[in-house]
């Protein structure tokens, strides 16, 4: 390489890579600890959990998150049934006989240290996953020595003339989906949907497990706002269906359809 060429290349690199990223310490304001409630009720028996914990300062990287034991957790449906959830592990509550029924509205009541939090969610009709398929990712930036990565497509029939909202969760023993994926049928009402999941990449030999959750509009709005508020244009705590003081999280009654697929080379 001659000198001029090197000089030109250096100046170009200078321009392109003049930006830099570095990990920094930043003094952040600390807010009072918030109560965190994650409450999910599925449409099969005993398949439900309420996890109660507390937030911690952003810069605190030692120790785990504080869990809340000894809370009173009750789920009541709109036909008069009441279920008490018992603590099965630190901060995790469950009821083995509770099963979500389509069309019923469930009310969650949590009582911690004299403070109460309530929330409502309605069990939606289940939309079944028809099948899964996979396709090789075409990444212009990946190097030659990296293994091929695969993207999953979810196939299902959207219910016509009905406002469906979906949450899709995918994982394998090796990888977790990054972020949340929710979908409304505004643009696909009644369609035979083939929907790609860009939030997780699988490799050859993985067994991918996918859940298609039919959720209510409140939950859709919550997760939509949650994903766009994390790295999005308007950061903040998303509006939640939990009613109470200084509380974050959600309560959802979900109809679940689950399928898995083994990633074969294509």
């Amino acid at each position: 390489m001659n000198t001029t060429k090197i000089l030109v290349l250096i100046s170009v690199l200078f321009l392109i890579f003049t930006s830099c990223e570095k990990v920094v310490d930043l003094n952040l304001d600390e807010a009072p600890q918030a109560l965190v409630i994650e409450a999910v009720l599925f449409d099969s028996i005993g398949d439900n959990y309420v996890i109660i914990s507390k937030s911690k300062p952003f810069n605190e990287n030692i120790g785990s998150f504080e869990t809340i034991s000894g809370a009173s957790v009750v789920i009541v449906d709109n036909v008069g049934n009441s279920y008490v959830l018992n603590e099965v592990a630190d901060g995790i509550y469950n009821n083995l006989s509770l099963k979500g029924i389509t069309g019923r509205t469930y009310t969650l009541s949590v009582n911690v240290d004299g403070k109460s939090v309530t929330a409502q969610s309605t069990m939606q009709p289940r939309v079944n996953l028809d099948s899964l398929s996979h396709e090789k990712q075409d990444n212009p930036f990946s190097g030659a020595d990296e293994p091929d990565s695969y993207r999953i497509f979810n196939h299902f029939y959207d219910t016509p003339n009905f406002s469906n909202y979906y949450r899709i969760k995918a994982y394998s023993r090796r990888v977790q989906q990054k972020g949340v994926l929710v979908l409304s049928d505004d643009l696909i009402d009644g369609d035979n949907v083939v929907f790609p999941n860009f939030q997780i990449e699988f490799e050859e030999g993985d067994t991918a497990i996918v859940q298609l959750l039919s959720i209510d509009e409140e939950n859709f709005r919550y997760f939509h706002a949650l994903s766009s508020s994390q790295e999005g244009e308007v950061p903040g705590n998303p509006e939640t269906n939990l009613e109470g003081e200084n509380v974050v999280g959600y309560f959802g009654a979900y109809a679940k359809s689950q399928k898995s697929i083994v990633i074969t080379p294509l």
Partner: protein, 793 residues
């Protein structure tokens, strides 16, 4: 119209006519001196030339945007003095016993000592003019100010002025007196430019070789302008040299420019064609990386203008701009965007006193994203057609009346997704249409030697029209019902009454106090939460849900010139109240969202501050210091529990220092220093676990601050010799002879002390340990040197 409104309108016009006729009725026989003033080397119209009457101290006029002036005086003998900074003053004696036409060409002559003496007493237009909160920049004066990559940029220079704040590192977007970046009306030859930036904001679209001058109005905005809350940036393209052909060019680190101008018919008609291209992609072949080799990365601009003077009374101008940015990776991904504007303008003199300007303008901004790998593309556009009529009536020596009106047809195409694959499907967000119109009248009046005022009124209207389906929303932002409108059916209409007032009290030749008030209506809103310059941000019209934004601003200022006008000093303090300010729901999605209006929240805002400005205008050493202390706050019922909180563009301190020093006749040193308080932002205050992932916990919106920003840039301009020594054939002595070819080198260093100013922060789990979090700061430009070679012949 309500009866109270009718009454106040009636009163206003009564007052207007009383003021006008009070001086008119009692006057004796009068005659008019009028004409056009041009530069004698290139024939460019000179804007803002002052014409004084020696026998009547304090009486005078100023040329308008087309170099036209007109002054009406009682019959008599007068000496008129034409002066313009940097030009030789011309005296003209006339017996005004009839109407006289006097077209004048001024020659630049900064070396003429006699002139310095004369201009000395006739400068100080900043003291006498009723205008306040106005900055006029001649492109020639700013060429040596150091800028990023050595790309001379008029929008970056205005960010160094008081009350104007940069929207971010290297960004051509800006905030004026607490307004957001979409509240600036940027006009190129009268046509609005909707996205004034290239390369995602690092360059403005204005090629310095094609631009003549810029006026920025921060307050006391004239009644002829409307449609944005914070400012008007009125940029004029050069007309082109009507004397001789000329070539101007420059070769820079990132881009090169070439301009050709010349007469079509000498002294009657001229043209200018100016092009610029950024060529970062030219170097990509040197890289061994496949994806860099396939990269597409360039922008270009093309400016064209021509004019023809039919006779003394009629002149026609045609001008246009076309620019485009192109990024991508061949066959996989492409992103291009740009503006196009066109202006057809007819200047007509009805008589010596009435100057008319009729213009037809077109403006278009669009972007296109092609993701070929995934088989879909996204398109979006905004398009305007404008018809505007302005009349300048030079009534008498004490009154200058302006009136006119405009109609704009807007088309908003928020976005179309076209797909070839089965995965996504086609989506089209419906177009929106609107008619924006305005009528205005204003008068500039001199009451006494000391008191003068400009007062006016603008009436504006915006009507959103069909066809289309329009949504109503509940207080959670969910669609409650849909209403269909057919073509050209009015969906919703809004009226605005916008009073404008500027008062000036001149204590003496070097001191004045001014005050102004203006009310502004804004009917177009840019959906953006980034700092500006994001090409995919789209404009939304005022609609059945969105009300027009309204701002009232009062300004009080003190102006003082020192040492024979060598120094100009001013203090201005302002208070601005804003209504129907827009912010977003938490987690709002503002691009390609058909129900985006449901994501909006409406509140109010207030901005106030003090601006200090000290400028040295003459001598070897020139430059300025500007400092602004300001607050900008907003209040929304649903954000931060209804408390007032700082707007994103709130900056307490903002300091700019610009110094230029002529080391020798050919060598000029320049430097700028900038310091400002970091923007208000929303940073997390904690974190929690949900679904096995770490989620950031937030408290108040805009409750945190970016670190303070500061930076020093330096530049050195070396002019080539503009003369050569030749032997005079008759005397045999050596003497200087002007060279035709002029050139200069500009060396600059951006961010000399290599400060890593924060551009963004990310708060995310660590890659290798997702249960721990870290804060990553991105800084854009560390030290950046640049070299530019400029020439003209």
């Amino acid at each position: 119209m309500s009866p109270t409104f009718e009454n106040s309108m009636k009163k206003f016009f009564q007052l207007l006519f009383f003021l006008l006729f009070s001086t008119y009725i009692f006057s004796q026989e009068k005659f008019t001196l009028s004409g056009t003033i041009k530069d004698n080397t290139d024939g460019e119209d000179l804007i803002g030339v002052t014409i004084f009457v020696k026998e009547l101290p304090g009486v005078g006029t100023v040329t308008n945007l087309y170099g036209f002036y007109s002054i009406t005086l009682p019959k008599g003998e007068y000496t008129f003095q034409y002066s313009y900074v940097g030009y030789k003053t011309i005296k003209f004696k006339a017996n005004l016993n009839q109407n006289i036409k006097n077209n004048i060409e001024l020659s630049s002559g900064s070396t003429d000592l006699e002139v310095v003496e004369i201009t000395g007493e006739k400068e100080g237009e900043n003291i006498r003019s009723n205008e306040m909160s106005v900055e006029k920049i001649n492109i020639k004066d700013i060429s040596s100010i150091p800028v990023l990559f050595g790309e001379n940029d008029i929008l970056k220079v205005i960010q160094l002025l008081p009350g104007v704040k940069s929207a971010g590192e290297g960004n051509s977007g800006f905030f004026v007196r607490g307004g957001s970046s979409d509240q600036n009306l940027i006009l190129l030859d009268g046509a609005p430019v909707y996205n004034a930036s290239h390369l995602l904001g690092f360059f403005s679209v204005f090629n310095p070789d094609a631009i003549k001058d810029l006026s920025l109005y921060k307050g006391g905005i004239p009644a002829e302008h409307g449609g944005r809350l914070s400012s008007v940036v009125d940029i004029k393209m050069k007309e082109g040299n009507s004397k001789k052909y000329a070539v101007i060019g420059g070769i820079g680190t990132l881009s090169s420019r070439l301009t050709i101008e010349g007469p079509i018919v000498k002294d009657k008609s001229s043209f200018i064609v100016s092009g610029r291209r950024m060529y970062l992609d030219a170097f990509k072949g040197l890289s061994s990386n496949e994806s860099i080799k396939n990269a597409i990365l360039y922008f270009y601009d093309l400016n064209m203008k021509a004019n023809y003077q039919f006779n003394d009374k009629n002149r026609l101008f045609v001008s246009g701009y076309f620019g485009r940015d192109n990024f991508g990776i061949a066959d996989r991904f492409g992103f291009n965007y740009g503006n196009a504007t066109a202006t057809l303008r007819w200047n007509h003199l009805y008589n010596d006193k009435v100057f008319s300007n009729t213009s037809f303008m077109f403006s278009n901004y669009d972007y296109e994203i092609n993701i070929e790998a995934a088989g879909f593309s996204i398109n979006s556009r905004i398009q305007d057609f404008t018809l505007k009529q302005d009349l300048d009536f030079f009534w008498n020596e004490n009154n200058k009346l302006k009136f006119g009106g405009s109609v704009v047809h807007h088309t908003f195409d928020p976005g179309k997704i076209s797909s070839t694959g089965e995965a996504i499907g086609n989506t089209e967000i419906e177009n929106r249409y609107g008619i924006e119109s305005g009528l205005y009248v204003s008068n500039e009046q001199k009451f006494t030697d000391k008191w003068s005022a400009t007062y006016g009124l603008r009436y504006s209207n915006f009507t959103q029209i069909g066809p289309g389906e329009f949504y109503n929303y509940n207080n959670k932002g969910q669609v409650t019902d849909t209403i269909k409108y057919t073509e050209n059916n009015a969906v919703k209409s809004y009226n605005g009454i916008e009073p404008r007032l500027a008062l000036n009290y001149v204590f003496n030749n070097s001191t004045s106090v001014k005050s102004s008030y203006n009310r502004m209506y804004q009917y177009l809103h840019l959906l953006s939460n980034s700092s500006g310059g994001n090409p995919t941000n789209s404009w939304l019209p005022t609609s059945n849900n969105i009300k027009p934004e309204i701002a009232d601003q009062v300004v009080l200022g003190f102006f003082k010139n020192f040492k024979d006008n060598t120094y100009e000093f001013s203090i201005e303090t302002y208070y601005k109240a804003m209504q129907n300010t827009i912010d977003y729901r938490t987690g709002a999605e503002i691009t390609l969202n058909p129900t985006v209006e449901g994501e909006l929240l409406y509140g109010k805002g207030r901005a106030y501050g003090v601006e200090f400005y000290l400028k040295r205008k003459k001598g070897l050493f020139t430059g300025w210091i500007s400092y602004t202390f300001a607050r900008t706050e907003v209040q929304f019922d649903n954000i931060n529990r209804g408390n007032w909180y700082p707007a994103k563009q709130d900056r307490t301190h903002d300091l700019s220092v610009v110094l230029m020093y002529n080391l020798t006749e050919r060598l000029k040193f320049s430097s700028t220093f900038v310091f400002y308080t970091g923007n208000a932002v929303t940073f997390p205050t904690g974190k929690y676990i949900l679904d096995g992932q770490i989620i950031n916990l937030y408290s108040d919106r805009n409750g945190s601050r970016f670190p303070n920003y500061h930076r020093l840039d330096v530049g050195l301009t070396l002019d080539g010799k503009n003369y050569k020594m030749v032997t005079n054939s008759t005397t045999g002595e050596k003497e200087k002879k002007d060279k035709k070819f002029h050139s200069s080198w500009n060396f600059s260093i951006y961010n000399v002390y290599n400060r890593e100013n924060a551009y963004s922060f990310s708060f995310a789990p660590k890659e290798d340990d997702p249960i721990q979090t870290e804060i990553t700061q991105t800084s854009l430009f560390k030290i950046v040197p640049a070299i530019t070679y400029n020439f003209n012949f």
